[in-house]
């Protein structure tokens, strides 16, 4: 509310209106300090530790060993196996989660009222932490108290059947982990696809219907092309999430049986923190950080998120 007697100062201020009330850079200092110390500095520390021998004991400081840890990358069979497991998990995640979340997301975007209730139920896994999801599934696949026991009774299976030791067999253990990823993460991607599908202009569908296009054709010639950016974004988030996370593996199998479910980040944790070989663990961490960043930068370029900057106030 301008005061009646404030005409004088106001006129003076009008000249500097562009700068009046603009916050100085000092406002950003606390957040940037935290970000630099606990999010950026770890990247440098990981690189430094990768050239040292360090056992995580504060009284014995890291000892510089040059490229010794890096040389181990090339002849460590366990590491090469972890790369294989990582690739398998990424492939399984993409081939199961992309089609399912795409179809369910597009379906969920439909206008029918009844769908809203079903869609609410679809999102329940999103409320659960990965720890909660893993503990729940560990109980579900438990040979004595879980679904395998029920199957044995209902179908009268022999005591030793394919379900009797799901986490003890390399193939089924990978399958269980891929299923947990599907159950826990695809609701997020469903949500992303639902949002994307709602942006598709209705008029495209009306035009397709006038042309006499059936449902399947409409899906492939309108829905999929219109969702191209959404598919790219969702898939990249999925890939990065799959190759940088290991909390589910840590809680469920600890990489077992004998390394069959140890992906790269789990391998990193197991070497670095569990076995106190911080130097070697850091080598794997640096590799993963670089890979994740390259993929994420690709995503920013692909989706044009960086263009936001162009419309930004205060540049010029």
């Amino acid at each position: 509310m301008p005061r009646p007697d404030s005409a004088g100062p106001d006129t003076k201020k009008r000249g500097g209106l562009q700068h009046a009330g603009r916050p100085g850079l000092i406002w950003s200092v606390p957040a940037l300090l935290f970000f630099a110390l606990f999010a950026i500095a770890p990247l440098g520390v990981a690189l430094y530790l990768s050239f040292t021998d360090y056992q995580g004991i504060p009284v014995v400081p890291p000892e510089w060993v040059g490229l010794e840890n890096w040389a181990r990358l090339f002849d460590d069979a366990a590491l090469h196996r972890a790369i294989g497991v990582t690739v398998i998990l990424i492939v399984l995640a993409v081939v199961t989660q992309v089609p399912i979340s795409l179809l369910i997301g597009v379906w969920a975007a439909g206008p029918q009222r009844g769908r809203a209730i079903v869609v609410t139920l679809y999102f329940i896994p999103l409320l659960m932490s990965s720890a909660a999801i893993t503990v729940l599934f560990a109980s579900l696949v438990d040979p004595n108290f879980g679904i395998p026991a029920t199957m044995r009774e209902v179908f009268n299976l022999p005591a030793d059947n394919i379900f009797s030791n799901l986490l003890g067999n390399p193939t089924t253990a990978i399958g269980v982990i891929a299923f947990i990823y599907l159950w826990g993460s695809s609701p997020l991607h469903t949500l992303i696809y639902q949002g994307g599908a709602r942006q598709i202009p209705e008029i495209l569908y009306q035009a397709a219907a006038l042309d006499g296009a059936g449902r399947v054709r409409t899906f492939f010639s309108i829905t999929i092309p219109q969702l191209k950016n959404t598919i790219v974004t969702s898939t990249i988030i999925m890939v990065v999430g799959t190759f940088t996370s290991f909390d589910i593996i840590l809680l469920l199998t600890r990489g077992g049986p004998s390394g069959a479910t140890s992906n790269l980040p789990y391998f990193m944790y197991d070497k670095g923190i569990a076995s106190l070989d911080f130097g070697y663990g850091s080598v794997v961490a640096v590799v993963l950080i670089v890979l994740a960043m390259l993929v994420s930068i690709l995503m920013v370029k692909a989706t044009g998120y960086d263009k936001l900057e162009g419309s930004q106030e205060g540049i010029g």
Partner: protein, 272 residues
Amino acid sequence: MRQRANWPAAIFAGLWLAIIMIPVYVMVRAGFSSREDYGNSGPIGMPNAFTLENFRYTMDSGFGKYLLNSGILTVGTVILVLLMVPPLAYVIVRGRSRWIPTVFKAMLFGLAIPAQVVVIPLYFIIVKVGLYDSLLGVIFPSVAFVIPLTTLILTSTMREINNELYEAMALDGAGSVRTFLTLVLPLSKGGIATIVVFSALQTWNNYLLPLTLTRSEDVRVATLGLGIFKQQFALNVPGLMSAVMLTIVPILLIYIFARRSLERGLMGVGGK
């Protein structure tokens, strides 16, 4: 025009619903069943009686303390985010410094840092600064890792504020502090709600940071408690499931009361 019943889609949607709901059913059913009942009818069977005994047992086993620690961790993180992120977003949107594009780029870069992969250097840093085995030592990195996304969410909210409103404030002789408090904050409520929900979810559900940065039972959070109970309660699935349900209750409350913010916040989770 697309209103004809689409049976294949409906059947697929129904099947998927069953896949999502069966584990949820098993969890809820077990959590409210006695051990005998669960043992007799198996995970998918129908319950015979309803009991709250598991929840009492879980709380008596120390889970209440873990939930409290999770609460302190979450509230502490959200408070720091609320103190630091709105001013940062305000500078990015309204500041005149030539460093602002760099700050904005740093936030985009921050989105790409995979949080789970930096646990080794974080452990090193937290031990160095003497915060190992304390909730504060978990709160600080938790804040750092939600800063990039929450800042981007909030800058897009603040960009919506009409320039004329700022000019009116300036004409009124308001400085940046008064503009921030009386104009920017009230008009950014939606974005602020979203970043609160997002940071709270990330922190409440985090497992790896507390795992690597704490050790004592005094500071054990609920997700770590679940991991411990998974071993201890190997023969007591109903007790374990009641603990899992207890960790979901606060998020369920947010889901009921702030669903829009939660969904926006969840979309943000994709950045982790």
